[in-house]
Subunit: 477 residues, 2 copies
Amino acid sequence: MSTTERSPGGALAVPSRIRRSLDQVARRSPARFAILVFTALILVVTVLLILPVSSADGTATDLPDALFTAVSVICVTGLTTVDMATHWSTFGDTVVYVGVQVGGIGVLTLASILGMVVTRRLGLRSRLMAASDTNPLRAHAGPVPEVQAVRLSDVRGLLRTVALSALAIEGAIGLLLFPRLVADGIPVRDAFFDAFYYSAMAFTNTGFTPNAQGLDAFAHDYAALTLIMIAVILGSVGFPVIYVVTRNLRHPRRWSLHTKLTLTTSAILLVLGAVVYLALEYDNPRTFGHDDAGATVFQSFFLSAMSRSGGFSTIDIAHLHDSSLLVTDMLMFIGGGSASTAGGIKVTTLAVLFLAAVAEARGRRSMEAFGRRIPSDVLRLAVSVALWGATIVAVGTIVVQQITRESLSHVLFEVISAFATCGLSTGLTGHLPDAAKYVLAVTMWMGRVGTVTLAVALAQSQRRQLFTRPEERPIVG
Amino acid sequence: MSTTERSPGGALAVPSRIRRSLDQVARRSPARFAILVFTALILVVTVLLILPVSSADGTATDLPDALFTAVSVICVTGLTTVDMATHWSTFGDTVVYVGVQVGGIGVLTLASILGMVVTRRLGLRSRLMAASDTNPLRAHAGPVPEVQAVRLSDVRGLLRTVALSALAIEGAIGLLLFPRLVADGIPVRDAFFDAFYYSAMAFTNTGFTPNAQGLDAFAHDYAALTLIMIAVILGSVGFPVIYVVTRNLRHPRRWSLHTKLTLTTSAILLVLGAVVYLALEYDNPRTFGHDDAGATVFQSFFLSAMSRSGGFSTIDIAHLHDSSLLVTDMLMFIGGGSASTAGGIKVTTLAVLFLAAVAEARGRRSMEAFGRRIPSDVLRLAVSVALWGATIVAVGTIVVQQITRESLSHVLFEVISAFATCGLSTGLTGHLPDAAKYVLAVTMWMGRVGTVTLAVALAQSQRRQLFTRPEERPIVG
Ligand SMILES: [K+]
Ligand SMILES: [K+]
């Protein structure tokens, strides 16, 4: 096992007693550890946002709004019950900025660690690479309980690698974005702040906008929009993919199955989404039907990319046809890559479900992709994650519907946007009663923390069985 | 293999050349055979319904309406674009009655045969029983290609058994219903026709009503409503379950896994649906909120039972809250038992998906229920059927939405009602443009014929594989 990522102390050092007890929780149950950390972060941000110093007018923010914003920040959702551009002071903005970074990078790290547990091998480098055909670990499929525990030192090493990559990408995008914003007429000082704020909101797939007009300020600056799109897509493919691709840029054959599956499915969804939006909205003057052909195609791709978790929007979502809202619902629900800043059930989950259907249709005994066989227990995990998502969305929608009596189309949209931490909104979230705000906050929390930890909690519970039962086959379908 | 169900000729004999070529199609591809038979039946009924003699006012019925009704009749859906109580003549009513019987019993038979292929053993009795622990066939899980072909003589034998059981149940329910309808003030001659019409519409899970007021005529005759509910539930559990239960009435331990799984899941869904309806609608005066407690509970159970494919309704569906409509969407989508007159993805499909999640959560290597192990390829089939259903519903909803611009809530409801051949309606189907009628007709056809044949088409394609690929595990969730 690689030890290069472990460090004995450094900037992230904590007092040894606390470290030991955290280490113990992390070792025994990484899922519980993740839930603990995330919930604590949300509470800290809530308290900070309630403080009068956080709001622009110097008064204390209501608990429901502060809590909702804190959940939205830490879960990098981007839904909001207050006007993000005007409600907060510079201090409040800074809390949001730092919160998003911590939440986004935290999720990346946690998901990566949990991914390690799920794939049942530790050793950061060997797992993230997972590319070489000669890797002897790859042959192992069964449970390896003794390596399922995660040490805090692994967490720290991974956290550093992830944070450095994230900040490098955000810095590069921010630097490229800065001159564009200046060219779009934003004052230089604001543009500097906005460039890095936008860059962070894009890479972490959050989707808050710092300026009053939001993206409208550069709705026709295709260079700026393209930079934002690139940051969103980089954030949404997930850290394991970025790691493998950057280290094997010229050797796509060495990419892991996970990398190939994520990139292929993401690309298909991006193009498919854009084509369907184009077909449904080309004659809708209230969205992008009034633009010329090139602009309409670009906006279709932009919307398709943002639906999968980015949450930025150049149009008023409420003006989309109900059919396009439903398409967006589906794209949001699927979300981005595993161990990414995007939400949803993840593209590999969808891919595995489809590969199962393909295997069934072709009469193959096992799921296959890119010359590899996928073990059948991965399908069970995919089914579990999809059922978990569908259940949360169904219950959330029914409850919010019952509270607000708004149209199914809009309620479903907001609930899926919350579950998948996408942040696109028809505007309904802005005027929800407090009860519904709490329901959406719980939905975000379950969608973010729940989905990421569910997989590991399930995988961890692998047990030996001492007897086999007789087999019997029910009729399905 | 049992031969008792095979008969060399009899009432169902067809000229030997046609029989031979049908036999060949049935033998080679039962799925194609089913599609062929169903499509032919729909075309015959369409032509009959277009004839002026079929309509009450003696004029020819439009092609879209005749085709829609024919699909609705043969697929036992119960959705309608014309007023079923007044539009048709007695001849037209008879075409509908016979069509529903042929469609309902035909589906039962086909699904049972296809079920045989899916479970990969022939021999009607041994499969339907599938109860005795000493059955040596049970141990076989792998593909047995040589017994996957279905002989026409098997079809004929099964058809007779199914038809006799169906007519016996319908006759009994009709006889019990007759005095109730007379007591409710329907003239004796009408009551006799209506009793058997209702009985057929209930057992086949169709849901057409012959009288102008529909169920309102006996909305408070709980005996009549209970009889209808029993017929609907008997039809919806499926023939394999009826067969096993009637032959082992006193020995539930001998029931097959399929029987136990279907009955348990159906019971849970019935109660859960009723409880949720009660919680959501108890204060809605436009549905059953104005009734006393007992009536409200009864109506909740009635609606819960009918949502799963019966399609009868004592209330105006459009008056349900959007939240209740969504609950109904989910119940309809799940539908009834395999090889039943009900539609949807089937309760065992849902059960298998949940058992997979439970197995994953409990760390078991395989899915288990009632002391039996379920082979993992059944999960792949369940995933395929669920994805098929979700895809049809999504595409159908987007297209109908784009054509009509109606609310998502109502469009989704009608499309799922069509896919799952449930027949409940918010009233939207009654005033659809022709293009949308065709889309819904295709949805019904795909939901009915497609779902039943998909499973077998998939199971049939089982092939040997000469090599295994290296295993690799993507991250999901
Ligand atoms: K987001
Ligand atoms: K029906």
